[in-house]
Each structure stands twice: as structure tokens, then as C-alpha cells.
């Protein structure tokens, strides 16, 4: 494996993804990520200087909606997915910036 993921990188990615991993899981993830980067290195061997960067896998563009309200009040159903409900709102742990 050419790419070695450092412990610091592993820690940082964990913080960004809000994941807490055991030592064993960390080692596994480091190895998986190293292999992914190796594969990207392989792709980088191709000469793409004459290829337009692709921004979507489907050859489709301009999929639009007209600006017309068709959704009504579906609060009851939406709130069924909430971790907690209070006064018609999603109740979450106190979050202050």
C-alpha cells in the first residue's frame, strides 16, 4: 500500500464525520482509506488533459419544476420522524452557537 493514513488524519476524519471508532475499527478504516487512495493514484496515471471534467454521471441536464405550491400541511406525518416533538417543532439537544 502506497498511501499510509496517519493517526492524526484518522482522528480528524472521525471528528468531521462525528464518528467514535474503537482502536480496531480505526486500523481497519486506515487500511480501507489507504486502498481507496491507491486506486485514485491508479486513475491518475491516465492522461485526461483533453477530457472535460464530468459533473454528473447521467447525460441529463435542466430538470426543473414550475414555481407552483402543491405541498400542503403534512406536519403530523413529518413529525413522526422526529427524535422528540414539542409545540409542533423537532425537539433536539440544546444547541447554541
Amino acid at each position: 500500500m502506497a498511501n499510509i493514513i496517519s493517526d492524526e488524519t484518522m482522528e480528524y476524519v472521525g471528528i468531521l464525520a462525528k464518528l467514535e471508532l474503537s482502536e480496531e475499527e480505526k486500523e481497519q478504516a486506515k487500511s480501507d482509506m489507504g486502498k481507496m487512495l491507491d486506486y485514485i493514484d491508479k486513475l491518475n496515471e491516465l492522461d485526461t488533459s483533453n477530457v472535460e471534467p464530468m459533473s454528473h454521471v447521467f447525460p441529463v441536464n435542466n430538470v426543473f419544476r414550475e414555481d407552483v405550491v402543491t405541498n400542503g400541511d403534512d406536519r403530523e406525518n413529518i413529525l413522526k420522524n422526529a427524535p422528540g416533538v414539542k409545540e409542533g417543532a423537532f425537539k433536539v439537544p440544546k444547541t447554541v452557537e
Partner: protein
């Protein structure tokens, strides 16, 4: 000699677009609904839901870009900006990083030193977040997703501004352009226009920019001006003390007139932008751009010229009448109804501005209808009410938008044009004020004013002043 400092300011302006539905779903954007009554699986980020772009959002963004001299990115797309916060249900915001819809524009502002162009780096489309309310009784926060997915454009300026005055002039220019286009109502106090200020200071003549801070929570022009002065002073003080400015986001508290650090660069977020695979690219053809260009409504400068030419309105008045879309709309709609542009202009320029000042209101807060103002003008013109009664009636129209015809009828405010009744009252006034009559005959022209006043008082202000004058002179 003390060092001279220069302030360098760039703005990020968020504008809520005036669409009926959200950017990626068919939920209403209406303001003020009960929490979560305008939500669906898309704008609450439910797994498996698919966003579909609102075409009107693209059209508004292009219209704003054209009106601010930007070039339109004819192949553009959306990216995901990843961060965790409870007001962001998907854990990413759909925005544009790599190919924003408009780039390299600018608008011209007036400064004391003449005209100056403020560059626009880019304009991109994105979705708004939900609203977090912190519960006072329980240790929790409540999330309302009604605003989640409301379409925004973010207008990013170049760091071209050097003072609070230039910032206000630039914001005012943007606001007028966008309001006239109908793309947003741009109300700072209601949050449909929000400005983040990036500010740094440097010694005059320095080539390099200083370290900048970003200030949020600015919801009026006055707050923006105070925040700029406050932040400039804070940064200069740091530099004078030999300290460094820390690159950070600060929240302005307008009551305390001080800003607080929200987050610094150390915990700056890594947004890991990447193209949103749920949304396909947008191809904007030349024809599409031409269509939007052709449909562009009359903007302020053209309107100003037209008022001067078509209605013979003086320069200064035309400036005021076009200083907000609301005022211009009121002027045009009322003129259309009564065909008396000069009189409409007069009511707006004098009484309306006076009442706005007294009540500390902006033009956007005006709530009376063109219909009722037009009716009032007709009432005065027909001599049904005199001008002082008209001013009183206008105050009621201004506050409650009442129908002046009904109001005048109900309150018995019609001018007394009945010559017999007037003559009888005036005879009485003359009989009761021999001194004034004598003064008048002795050449004291002013005495007649007193007699007119007495007559008006006797008639409870409803007499036709022209007739009173005429009859008085005749009888004297």
C-alpha cells in the same frame, strides 16, 4: 505622527428570492406559518427524497446577475457544503462552489469623491436553513423547518469598499436593483436581505490586506454602520497595542455596540464540498439569457428619467419617488387611477414622508392603497373637502387605509359650499369682532386672517376657505 489606517470591506449579501415555493420542493415559502406546516420529506432531509430545482430561482438569479453586469455561467451546477447543525436537516447545504451562476460583475455607487465601481466576485444560488428556537424552560432547542429550503442568492463582493458610507451605498444600490426586478422584497429587518461584513484594516499605502474578520447579525443599515465603526476601532486598537487581529467570525450585538467572537480559525469548518449527485447540471442557453434580458422591468435610472419627462416631476422629487420600489409603485398606481401625477407626487413627498418620519417607518412599511389616495385627491379637487380636512383624512388613510368617501360621509367632514349658510356665519363673526373689522378698515390686512380663522372655527373647519375669503371681503 500617529499611523493612518484604511478600512477594507467586502460584503456577502444573502437575498431571499420572492418565489412561491422552495428551491427544491413544492412547499410554500410563505412567512409566518405555524412551525413545520410548510415542510415535506425534501426540506426536512428525509432519506430517499429527491430535490428538483425550481426554474424561477434560476431565472431570478440570472436577472440579478444581468442587472449587476455579471457574466452568466452557462454551464453551472450545485455542490454540497457539509456541516452538522440542527437547523440543517440533511447535514449539508446545497449551494454552489465551483460553478456559481454569475461571476465578475459590479455596480456603480455615488461617493463624495465621485462615482466608484464595487466589484461583484460572484452570485450563487443556495438553500436557507431552518430556524432554531431555544426553549426557556427545558434544556432543549426546537427546530422549525418552514424556512429550510427557501431559495437564496448570495452576492459576494470584491473587497472594494473603504467606509461605512460606501457599504450603505452599495447595499442600497443592490436593494433597489433587486426590488425593481421583483426578485425579492429585500427587507433587512425581516431577514429577506442579510449582510455579512468582512473587514480588515491596513496602514494607508500598504499593499497587503490585513487579517480580516467576518461580522454577522446585522439587520439594519444603522447597525451595519455602527458595526463597521466598532470593528475598525477594535482592530486598530489591537494593532496599536502590537497585537494581532485573529481571523474569526464575530457576532455584532447592536444594543451593546460590541462584537463577540463566534468561532475562530482554529475550529474553522472543513466543508468538504462536492458536486450534488441528486441534481443535474444547468445549461443556460443564449436564448434563455436573451429572453430574461428582454423581460427585464424598468430599473430605477430609467424610471427616474421617465418621471421627469412623462410627468414633468422635478429632479429631487423623482429621486425620492424612485428611492424604493414601494414608493414608485404607489406613485404609478395612484397616478394611473386619478391622472394627476403632480398631486400624487405632492401627497407622497409632503404628507407621506412627514408621517413616515414621525412614525420611524420605511417606504416598505407603507400600507395604504393607491385607490384610497386617488379618492382623496378627487375629493379635494371636487371641492368636497378642503385641504386642511384632507390632511386629517389622509392621516387616517395612512394608518388604517380607510375609504375616504365613506369616512368623510360618516364623520360629516364635507366642506360647506352652501353660500347662504356661509354668509350667515360670516355676518355673525363680523358682528362679534368689531375690533378686527375696524383694524381691517384701518389698513391692517392681517386682520382678515383672524376673521377667516374665526369663521373656520365656527364651521368646525369644514368651510371652503376660498369662498370664506371672497364673502368676507365682499361683506367688509
Amino acid at each position: 505622527m500617529a499611523k493612518q489606517y484604511e478600512t477594507v470591506i467586502g460584503l456577502e449579501v444573502h437575498v431571499e428570492l420572492a418565489t412561491k415555493t422552495k428551491i427544491f420542493c413544492s412547499c410554500s415559502t410563505e412567512f409566518g406559518g405555524a412551525p413545520n406546516t410548510h415542510t415535506c420529506p425534501v426540506c426536512t432531509g428525509m432519506p430517499g427524497s429527491l430535490p428538483v430545482l425550481n426554474k424561477q430561482v434560476v431565472e431570478y438569479a440570472i436577472a440579478v446577475g444581468l442587472a449587476t453586469n455579471c457574466s452568466i455561467t452557462q454551464y453551472c451546477k450545485f455542490d454540497r457544503k457539509n456541516y452538522f447543525y440542527p437547523d440543517n436537516p440533511q447535514n449539508y447545504q446545497i449551494s454552489q462552489l465551483y460553478l456559481p451562476i454569475c461571476r465578475n460583475g459590479g455596480v456603480e455607487i455615488d461617493t463624495p469623491a465621485g462615482k466608484k465601481t464595487i466589484g461583484i466576485h460572484e452570485i450563487h444560488m443556495e438553500e436557507d436553513a431552518g430556524k432554531l428556537i431555544h426553549d426557556e424552560w427545558e434544556d432543549c432547542s426546537l427546530v422549525d423547518f418552514n424556512r429550510s429550503g427557501v431559495p437564496l442568492i448570495e452576492i459576494v463582493s470584491e473587497p472594494d469598499m473603504r467606509s461605512a458610507e460606501e457599504v450603505i451605498a452599495y447595499l442600497d444600490k443592490l436593494r433597489l436593483i433587486i426590488q425593481y426586478l421583483g426578485a425579492s422584497d429585500c427587507k433587512l429587518n425581516e431577514g429577506s436581505m442579510r449582510a455579512d461584513v468582512n473587514l480588515s484594516v491596513r496602514e494607508v499605502g500598504a499593499k497587503e490586506f490585513g487579517t480580516r474578520t467576518e461580522m454577522k447579525n446585522l439587520n439594519s443599515f444603522k447597525a451595519i454602520a455602527r458595526a463597521i465603526e466598532g470593528e475598525r476601532a477594535r482592530q486598530i486598537e489591537l494593532l496599536e497595542e502590537g497585537k494581532e487581529v485573529v481571523q474569526e467570525t464575530r457576532r455584532w450585538d447592536d444594543n451593546k455596540e460590541y462584537s463577540y467572537a463566534m468561532r475562530s480559525k482554529e475550529d474553522a469548518q472543513d466543508y468538504r464540498y462536492f458536486p450534488d449527485p441528486d441534481l443535474v447540471p444547468i445549461m443556460i442557453s443564449d436564448e434563455w439569457i436573451e429572453r430574461i434580458k428582454a423581460a427585464q422591468p424598468e430599473l430605477r435610472t430609467e424610471k427616474l428619467e421617465r418621471y421627469k419627462k412623462e410627468f414633468d416631476i422635478p429632479d429631487y422629487d423623482a429621486e425620492i419617488l424612485t428611492s424604493s420600489k414601494k414608493m414608485a409603485d404607489l406613485f404609478e398606481a395612484t397616478t394611473e387611477l386619478c391622472k394627476k401625477p403632480k398631486k400624487v407626487s405632492n401627497w407622497l413627498m409632503v404628507e407621506t414622508l412627514r408621517l413616515m418620519k414621525e412614525n420611524d417607518m420605511e417606504a416598505d412599511d407603507l400600507s395604504f392603497s393607491p385607490e384610497n389616495l386617488a379618492k382623496l385627491i378627487e375629493l379635494v379637487d371636487a371641492g368636497t373637502i378642503n385641504s386642511s380636512v384632507a390632511k386629517e383624512v389622509f392621516e387616517v388613510i395612512f394608518k388604517e387605509d380607510i375609504d375616504p368617501n365613506k369616512y368623510v360621509e360618516e364623520k360629516g367632514l364635507k366642506a360647506v359650499n352652501d353660500e347662504g349658510a356661509l354668509r350667515a356665519t360670516i355676518e355673525e363673526v363680523i358682528a362679534n369682532n368689531p375690533q378686527s373689522v375696524e383694524d381691517y378698515h384701518n389698513g391692517k390686512e392681517k386682520a382678515i386672517g383672524f376673521l377667516v380663522g374665526q369663521t373656520m372655527k365656527a364651521m368646525q373647519g369644514k368651510a371652503n376657505p376660498g369662498m370664506v375669503n371672497k364673502i368676507l371681503k365682499e361683506l367688509l
